[in-house]
């Protein structure tokens, strides 16, 4: 197991280096653009522009700039925002807990509701419960999260004010955003759990367990669900990334603090270093989350480790 962990950690490094290069290149595809825009608006002359670019190192070749960026990034320095002049990393770290909280709460709701719906649908295959949960998952996948958020705000925040409609204070303000965020993944997880469960229920060990007279609940939970949940675990990594990205939109819907708000504002203000830092940060978090999912998968299924 330790060998597997080491191997898997090593493979994450080139991915992270590659991501930094990819994000850097995309942001610098139009070199100096943001600086040009900002300073021309402030009435800078062409000469001043040139001076500042030289000062910031923006007229060096791209690879020199990347090397400098990578060197600083390794020391935890992602540069400074063009607008607030605050260090990018400290801005991100100030906002990230709120985003992580939302993402994890969304994930918890999606998993809990999704697995429950999926198991019920599989156990009572072709019943009304099955149809209901499959229709719910179809709608869950098709529903724009920002629309669902607005509907929930209208119904549970304005018509029947049960929850606050905006803000980041207290657990009550987390309920609506988390449900909104998790709804789509719930649908996907429910469908996956159902088909995986149906597959497992046909296996011989389930038949055996029943034949030796174990109670239905024990068969379902200990024999069937434990095996059926493996593909769901793999899905969790993917869904985590999806939810992290979804949080960007949900934060805007609910006017919540978070990295999403940060990146959207940064894009609107054409704040290159902040966009680059935030996107890279979230991408690295996604890589690390997938890494953890892989490791927990190996812990759940011993066969993986020996491959």
């Amino acid at each position: 197991m330790l060998r597997y962990v080491q191997l898997r950690l090593l493979t994450a490094i080139p991915t992270i280096v590659g991501l930094s290069l990819l994000v850097f290149l995309m942001v610098h595809l139009l070199p100096g653009n943001a600086v040009d825009v900002m300073l021309t608006q402030q009435g800078a002359t062409a000469q001043q522009l040139q001076q500042l670019k030289a000062q910031l190192g923006l007229d060096d070749p791209l690879w020199v700039q990347y090397a400098r960026f990578a060197k600083d990034a390794l020391r935890g320095d992602l540069g400074r925002s063009l607008f607030s002049h605050q260090p990018v990393l400290s801005q991100i770290l100030a906002q990230f807990p709120a985003t992580l909280e939302l993402t994890l709460a969304g994930m918890a709701i999606a998993l809990l509701a999704g697995v429950t719906l999926g198991v019920l649908a599989a156990v009572k295959q072709n019943s009304w419960l099955d149809s209901f949960s499959m229709v719910a998952s179809l709608i869950g996948v098709a529903m724009p999260s920002f629309w669902l958020g607005l509907l929930l705000i209208y119904l549970l925040g304005m018509k029947f004010p049960v929850f606050p409609v905006a803000g980041t204070a207290g657990w009550r303000s987390l309920v609506l955003p988390a449900v909104t965020l998790g709804f789509n993944s719930m649908g996907i997880i429910a469908r996956l759990t159902r088909s995986s469960m149906l597959e497992v229920l046909r296996q011989e060990y389930v038949v055996t367990a029943r034949a030796k007279g174990l109670g239905e609940a024990v068969v379902m939970l200990q024999h069937a669900l434990r095996n059926a949940v493996l593909p769901v675990v793999t899905m969790v990594g993917l869904q985590f990334g999806y939810l992290l990205g979804g949080a960007v939109i949900i934060e805007t819907v609910f006017a919540r603090q978070g990295v999403g708000q940060l990146v959207v504002t940064a894009i609107q203000q054409r704040d290159g270093p902040l966009v680059q830092g935030t996107v890279l940060f979230l991408a690295v978090i996604f890589v690390l989350a997938n890494l953890m999912v892989d490791l927990s998968y190996a812990a759940l299924d011993p066969r993986i480790r020996y491959q």
């Binding site: 098709a142 990205g245 609107q268």
Partner: protein, 301 residues
């Protein structure tokens, strides 16, 4: 016409030479026709596209012309979906919005399919260095949540309908590149490809005539399912204020406008959102049906 349950593999559908014989097409059509969800999805999608195309003729009001006396009216026979704070008719705006939103999704997926398909074809056919480069870039793009990829591209290119098409299109490229690469790797091992190469058929011609027909079926299925995701991403970017800009009418943008009026005019958010959901639902049902019809191995489920 009586349709037999097919025993042939799905690949046979596109086998060059005996390509698309009547019976094969009939089998696929038969399976598709019996899939109620796919038919409903196809019908809704067709209806939405027609409504969008015919908007200039069927919209009861000018979608951009303010009418101050008609401000913020709830849905009524005169204004089916009510009016906004400028007195503009929401129904007319939803019809026109479909032109942008559906077109955005279609072009974005078209771009993903074209670029991703091309790269996948090259990687799978030539293998070696080309494959190495394409696969590494694809892996990197997949190592990033898709919306982030789209956001960075929007940052680089700027906002607007065209740039969102490109952003959503490029962020979908890795899916198709990966799919077509693996289908191509399988297809290039066929004897007739070998034969074509031996008699000196040029590479581009082998790819176009012998490989491409083999990879079309999965491409159609994944492309259809991808259309729903593309419509959602594009509307999401517009909702964030990073996509379509006024006076362009777009469903995501309408939602973002309606957000500030939510407490007084629910209809401004209800109907554009419903339109997005219907479109995505229709596309997904259609995609599921196509997958079942084109891939008999999945049909039993």
């Amino acid at each position: 016409m009586q349709v037999e349950q097919p025993l042939v593999a799905p690949v046979a559908l596109a086998e060059p030479g005996l390509a698309r014989s009547r019976s094969q097409a009939a089998i696929v059509w038969g399976s598709f026709r019996r899939n109620r969800g796919a038919l409903i999805g196809g019908a809704i999608l067709l209806a939405l596209i027609l409504l969008a195309l015919l908007a200039p003729w069927i919209a009861p009001y000018d979608p951009l012309q303010p009418a101050i006396l008609q401000r913020l009216q709830p849905p009524s026979p005169n204004h089916l979906f009510g009016t906004d704070q400028f007195g503009r008719d929401t129904f007319s705006r939803v019809l026109y919005g479909g032109r942008t939103s559906l077109w955005l999704g279609l072009v974005a997926v078209g771009l993903s399919v074209a670029i991703g398909g091309f790269l996948g074809l090259l990687a799978g056919y030539y293998r070696g260095a080309v494959d190495l480069v394409v696969s590494r870039v694809v892996d990197l793009m997949l190592a990033m949540p898709r919306i982030l990829l789209a956001l960075v591209i929007v940052f680089t290119l700027g906002t607007g309908v065209t740039n969102v098409m490109i952003a959503v299109g490029i962020s979908g490229v890795p899916d198709y590149a990966r799919l077509i690469r693996s289908s191509t790797l399988a297809a290039r091992e066929h004897v007739y490809v070998e034969a074509a190469r031996v008699i000196g058929v040029p590479n581009w011609r082998i790819m176009a005539r012998h490989i491409l027909p083999n990879v079309v079926a999965p491409l159609i299925v994944v492309g259809t399912l991808g259309l729903g995701a593309a419509i959602l991403s594009a509307a999401g970017l517009s909702f964030l204020g990073l996509g379509a800009q006024p006076p362009v009418i777009e469903w995501g943008l309408m939602l973002s406008d309606g957000r500030s009026m939510l407490s007084v005019a629910w209809w401004l958010t209800a109907f554009p959102g419903l339109a997005i959901m219907l479109a995505v639902l229709a596309v997904n049902l259609l995609g599921d049906g196509l997958r079942d019809a084109l891939d008999p191995r999945l049909r039993a489920r």
